[in-house]
Structure formats: structure tokens, C-alpha cells
């Protein structure tokens, strides 16, 4: 039995949003009289942080602390239409709708403040801490709570906004495939280090180093969670998972987690991540969407590392010990390619 070290690389890009457009999402934003805002959506928080990231986007746009915003989703009676949380569209599409809605609401809030301060709304700025003041004259100020209160109780204004984001549907040319598939791409490159046991065919992934370009990390902690979880899923796809182990034959399909194999806590791979941020021109504050793409580079990087370790090229996923051993046998033994 010999353990062979292998190193593999992969690089990818990923299209953000339903790729041909035609997928609108809406947002409604309103304030109560003490300047606390609600964002009403019908988007879904699957654990990816939909509520949290739209809350930050709304707070940033309104110019108020994040604690002054709550996101309410999803109730079809109160939340406006949204296509849903899939296709990496949540942050990009819904985030933009929230910006539009929050911008309109902010405009009313500043108009109300301007009337109180007897200045032009264009001369007002927010400090992000709950205050509105005249640009260059911080002492001439009013709180966002006071502005929302006078708007509603004295000026008869609703501090609210509507937003929608839609990329119009693209045509596709049947003969050439010409189309306008997406407006922005996220990017990643990843290096996997692993070991292959040439007696059992077992693969142990030791380490990952990666760089992910996400447009803008709107919440760096949520980005980190996505990337760690996504890399775990990538390892799982590469080495373990399938509902049809003898595809295209349908037999021996797993029925539960006893037979549907996934990495356990002991197989979570140490992962050093670098985040790059090249803002997308049409992304909310430049944000793209790291959630879907982050598993993708792991699958080929693992396959490439297995080849590097023992000289066996597996082209059918998952890369099971059985396939590796059959490959080693067919080659007349392990053929380490040498670490680069």
C-alpha cells in the first residue's frame, strides 16, 4: 500500500441570473412613523441569506442603520411578485429591485426632511447612523425617525417605494446560438491537494486553495459560508454522490443517508480562500452571486488531482475507489505524474 500525493487545478466562470432574462423580481419598502422600515418581498431564504443581504442593501440605500430595517418574506398576500430563489438570481435581481424601492422611499424621506430644514432635498445627505444633514453643515440636521414622523403626521406623505428589476428576454438564434445570455459572470480558480491509496482506491482530500471573484462581497461572512459549504458539496459530488450508482441502469438507488454517501465532518477539507471583487456594472453595489458557482471548480480539480496522483483519468463521476482501482489495474500499476 502506497499513498500517492496529487495536485489538481481548475478555473471556471459562472453566469448570474436566469440566463436569458425575462425573470422579474419586485420589492416594496415602507416606513412606519418612527423611521423603522420594512422590506416586503416574496423571495425565499433557503439559508443562503436572502433576508440578510436584502436588509443590508435596503439600509445602505436608505442611508440608515441595518437595525432600522427588517425584511418580510414570503407571503403572497403582502409580498410583490418574484420569480424565486434559483439560478443565482436572488442577490442580483432582488437586490436591484430593493435598491430601486429603497431609493424611492429615501427620496420621500429626504423631501420631508428638506421641508423641515427649509433646504433643497438635493443638498441633504445621510450619515448611515440615523441622521440627515445638510451637505457640509452637519449641525443642520434631523433624524431619519423625525423625518419619517413629520412626513406621515404633518405632511401626509407615505415614505415608501416600489422596485422591480427585469432584464428583458433575449432571443436565441436557432442556427448559431447567438443570444444575450447574461449580464455578468462570477469567476473562480481552485487548487486541490489530495492523496490516493493505491491499495484501496480511497481518496483523501487534504487541502484546497482558491480564489473566488464575486463582484462585491455584500456580506463577507455570508460569502465565506457559501464558499465553504459549496466546496464541501464539490468534494461530495466529485467523490461520493449519486442517486444512480450504475447509471444508466436504475438499480441500487440509495434510499437514505445510510446508502447515499456524503463526506462527514471528518472529511471537511481545510480551505484557504481569497476573495476578489470586481463589481458588476449592473449588480447591486456590484454584487454577483457566489452561491451556485462555488462547487463547480472542485469536481474537475479533484479529477485532475487524482490523475496527477496515480495516472488514472476518471471521466465518469463520481470518482469511486472502485473506478480508481480498475484504472490502476488497467495501467499496470499507479503512475504518479509528479507534483508540479
Amino acid at each position: 500500500m502506497t499513498m500517492h500525493s496529487g495536485r489538481g487545478f481548475a478555473a471556471i466562470n459562472y453566469p448570474i441570473g436566469m440566463n436569458l432574462g425575462g425573470d422579474p423580481s419586485q420589492a416594496l419598502v415602507h416606513s412606519n412613523p418612527d423611521g423603522k422600515f420594512t422590506v416586503a418581498l416574496s423571495s425565499i431564504d433557503l439559508g443562503q441569506g436572502m433576508k440578510s443581504v436584502t436588509r443590508q442593501i435596503a439600509a445602505e440605500t436608505l442611508g440608515i442603520p441595518v437595525a432600522d430595517v427588517y425584511v418580510d418574506t414570503a407571503d403572497s398576500d403582502t409580498g410583490p411578485h418574484c420569480m424565486g430563489s434559483f439560478a443565482s438570481r436572488g442577490t442580483h435581481r432582488v437586490g436591484n429591485a430593493v435598491i430601486e424601492a429603497a431609493t424611492e422611499a429615501r427620496g420621500v424621506m429626504l423631501e420631508a426632511a428638506a421641508e423641515e430644514l427649509e433646504v433643497n432635498p438635493e443638498d441633504l445627505v445621510t450619515d448611515g447612523k440615523g441622521n440627515i444633514h445638510v451637505r457640509g453643515a452637519p449641525s443642520r440636521s434631523i433624524t431619519t425617525a423625525e423625518a419619517c414622523g413629520v412626513a406621515q403626521f404633518q405632511q401626509g406623505k407615505t415614505v415608501s417605494g416600489r422596485g422591480i428589476f427585469l432584464i428583458p428576454l433575449s432571443d436565441v438564434d436557432p442556427d448559431t446560438g447567438e443570444m444575450t445570455p447574461v449580464s455578468c459572470f462570477a469567476h473562480a480558480a481552485l487548487v486541490v491537494d489530495l492523496e490516493v491509496d493505491d491499495m484501496t482506491g480511497e481518496v483523501t482530500v487534504l487541502k484546497m486553495n482558491s480564489a473566488y471573484e464575486v463582484g462585491r462581497a455584500l456580506n463577507p461572512r455570508l460569502v465565506e459560508q457559501q464558499l465553504i459549504g459549496g466546496a464541501w458539496m464539490g468534494v461530495s459530488h466529485a467523490l461520493y454522490e449519486t442517486t444512480e450508482p450504475y447509471y444508466p441502469d436504475r438499480s441500487h438507488g440509495p434510499q437514505d443517508f445510510g446508502s447515499y454517501i456524503m463526506p462527514g465532518p471528518g472529511e471537511v477539507v481545510p480551505h484557504d480562500i481569497a476573495i476578489l471583487e470586481r463589481p458588476a456594472p449592473d449588480g447591486p453595489f456590484g454584487g454577483k452571486g457566489p452561491g451556485e458557482m462555488c462547487a463547480n471548480p472542485v469536481l474537475p480539480a479533484v479529477a485532475n488531482a487524482v490523475f496527477n496522483a496515480v495516472g488514472v483519468r476518471i471521466t465518469d463521476l463520481p470518482i469511486t475507489p472502485e473506478k480508481i482501482l480498475r484504472g490502476i489495474k488497467a495501467n499496470g500499476g499507479a503512475q504518479p505524474q509528479g507534483i508540479v
Binding site: 495536485r7 440578510s52 432571443d171 446560438g177 480558480a189 442517486t243 456590484g286 463547480n296
Partner: protein, 557 residues
Amino acid sequence: MIEFRKDIFADERDDNLNEIGKPTRRQDILGHVTGRSPFYDDHQFEGLLHLKCLRSPHHHARIRSIDTKPAEQMPGVHRIIQGSDVKVNLNTLLSLMNFGEDDEPVLSDKKVSYVGEPILAVVAETERQAFDAIAKIRVDYEVLPHVLDPEEALQPNAPLVNETMPGNAFPYHEKYNHQKLRFGDVEAAFAQADHIVEDRYQMSPIEQAPIEMCGAIAAPETNDRFVCYTSTQALFFSLGTAAKVLDVPSNRLHFIGGTVGGGFGGKVDSLHEPLAILGCMLTGRAVRYAFDRQEEMQVGAPRGAERWYIKDAVMNDGRITARKFTGYFDVGAYTRLSSYAIIKAAGHLPGPYTIPNVYADIYCVYTNRTPATAMRGFGITGVDFAIESHMDQIAHKLGMNPIELRLINSYMDGDMKAHRREAKNTALVECMQVAAEKSGWNIAPDFKAMSSHNGGEGWRSEIPHTVTDTNGQIGNGVPASTVRPATTSIPAYVPSQNPSYAAPPAQPARPVSPPTPQSNVQATPTAPPQASAPASSSTPKRPRVSRFSSISGTRRR
């Protein structure tokens, strides 16, 4: 360990924002960690009934008759729901965006096309009682030949899986039995290549495996409405689907969700909401319909199996001058969202590289298996596995550093992509440089100095003279099934009555690259011929082609 490389692209960002870029705690985290967040299944009702489905034990069978009488007498049974109870018992998900043909029954009581397909539903006081009643239902099946391999399914004699889809292939743009991508002339580049590198890649079917399984609870609401608590990933998708198949105005349905225990794409299909609401309409009681784990894994739609053939023309210096794909998406018995994902895949090719000649034929193929649906990376993950494995095979063949090979071919700002749009806002080069640096994988100084800003020079920004063809044409009285798929060395389909796969078969000899049918090839000057001359920089942009039908290829009729 995570680091933020704020030094890269720093001049394209304003980093002085108040809330954006802060590691703010999740709005809903307290509820989650204290077990208080309301997921759909936390909404319990007095007298809640449970719905379970009778499912097909066969890959493919006609249903001669169903005898439900013994089940009706079973304890706790309130209602047996048949296909005839569903007002519009044929649907396709993307019909809500006005795309695709209705091709899937809610309850399939005439013919079943995959193991696990729902035939009818039993509503009972407990799940156990529902299962006990289902066990008493007698179904007379006429077992039909089935097909499980997508390339076999495209053979002329293959069993017809889905009556809506002749030839077992989705009709793209009412014109071809596959999605085409054509850019340049791959055959000319193959003829001049130093090396041809080709292989076949197979993505496995994969379960989304959310911790919270798919389900819905429907209950009567005041004023003749119905409330539905659901685990859906797409609230209005599910609401619209329920309104359509039940033929009720959408405002009589009140959907509540938004807090979901993972989805990964597996909660878009809207299978549960319509049946739970229908059960509620027929019994007047609250009804819960939820997958158990076994159903989630074998009946719930997985990530589909994809098979990709790649053939590349490669020069000794590492330049890839042509890349040709043939892809087969095994979508199972019904379309769900796969027709769309294939167009997404077509727009993604040839991966993040600038290659002057690109060709793809991608087939959306019906087989007698559980329908596939969305999963994290839908349309992209499988082909990325193929492309990036292939890049390493090329590097190995040339004896090159695999990162340097990728940098040579990397796409950059200003490059023309194969779908004929300019690449913008790219960052592949920088990601590769940083990953190499972090892992201590050495690349030469020239490659460390590259930048995504420097693309778009010469031929890289131009649309080449393109060869097109009419292979796989449908319509005009030519059934799609008579059009040979892009493979020739697969034997004629023989239904295997009792395949034995107890031990996995040895790797069969396989066609490494499906040959292209040579018929109907025509050179169409889609761009001025001088576009292929490297010096030409004034190539006019190709005018938009005439409007075609839709994203998923056919307009609903």
C-alpha cells in the same frame, strides 16, 4: 481561512460604504439556532390529513385499469384523488413564462413513464393509513419497452417516452431536435491542428439533499380561499402552477413560505402544493403532502445526468483553435426546467476561454427515469467538469503547466464570446494568478503579469466567418425520430428486459467523439468573410437575427 484581496480591482470599487461589506449577523439567525423559525411543517392544524401517492413500479407501462374499491374501505381514508380530479392534468413549469409545451400530468393514470411516477393520491388521517390503503389498490399494467440511456433514446426505434416529445428530443425553436451553437469553422481548424484531443465525460445524477424535505400544507381559509404553507424555492412559481392545474383564480390562493431548510434547486418543481390544495378542496380539511427521504431521493427530481463529448484542435504552443461539443442531457420522462438549462449551457460554451472556432449540439433527451430538474449550477456544473478535465488532458499531452495553458487561452475584457457578445467585467486571469500564488504553484513571470483588461485585440474581438447547417431539422413532415443523432457507433436499440448490473460492467468501448453528420452543411456568411483576417478591426457587428420563438425553444400554442 479567508482573505479579501482588496488590492485587486481596487480602482473599480468604492469601499467606503456603511452597511455593504459588513459581516452583519443574519436577520433570522436567532430563530434558527433556537428552533423557533417557522418552516412550513411547523404549521399544524387540527384534523390535519395526510396525502400519499400510489407510484409506478415500472419504468414504462400503460395502465389498463385501476381498482380503488378495496382502498376506499380502509380505515382513515377520506378521499382517493384520481387524474380526472385534476382540472388541467397536463403542465410544464415554464408555461408560467409562456414557454414550452405542457408535457407532464399531475397524476398519470393512463400511462407511467418512470419508476415512482404518481398515479393517484390517497388522503387519510395518518401517513400510515394512506400507505396501507395504497397497498390495497389494484392496477393492471401493460408493461412497455423502456429506454434509459439518452443516446439509445435518440435511436429511431427507441420507445417513445413522452407523447408530447416525438423522437424523445425537445424541439428547439420549432426547428431542430437540439440546441446549436456555431462560431467559426471547427472542421477547418481540426484539419490544421497540431493535435486533436477528445474524450467523453459523464456527470452522475445527484440528489439535492436538503435537510428539510419538499412539502406543503394546505388549509381552508376564510372567504373561500385556501392558505398553503410551502417549502418552495419560488413562491409565485408554485402559486401559479397550482392556480393553473386546479383552474382557480390565483387570488383564491394564499401562499406562505420564505423560510426554507435548504433547496439547492430541488424545490422549484411545485409538485406538492397543487395536490395538497386539491386534497383540501375535496375534503374540506387541512391536508399535508410531503416527501419522505426515500421519495426525496428516488422520486424527487435530481440533478440530471449529462454526457459530454469534447473534441479540441490544439497547437504545440498551447493555443486551442477549435472546440466541438456534443452534449446529451438525460432529462428523464418530463421536461421540468431542463430545456432552459440547455440554452444556459449553450451560452456558457466553450467555458471561460477565447477559442476562435466553437461548435456545439446539445440534446434535451427523454428517458424512462425520474425527471431531472434544477440543482446548484444547473446547466453548468456538468460541462465545467468536462471542460476543466479536458484542459488538463491537453496540458498533459503537450507537457505544459496546466495553469499556464489556461492563461494562454483565458477570456479577457473585449473578447468575442461564442454566443456573439463581448466579454466584459472578466476576472478569470486574476483568479488563476491568486490561486497559483496561494498554493505555491509556480507560473512564469509573463503569466503573472497578465491582466483581464488586455483582451479584445485583433481576431479576439471579431465574429468569424461561420459554417452553419440544418442537421436535426424537424417539422416539414420530417419526424425528429428519423433524424439520426450525432452518434453512429451505438448499436440499434434493443429493449433490455432484464439487465443485470449487479456488478458494474467493465468500461465498454465507447465512441470517443460522435462524428458529425456531413449532410446539409452549408457555409453561411453570418459575418463578412474578412472578419477572419487578423488585421481587420472594423468588422461591423452582425445585425440581430430575426426573432425566434422563446428561451426554451417553442412557444406555447
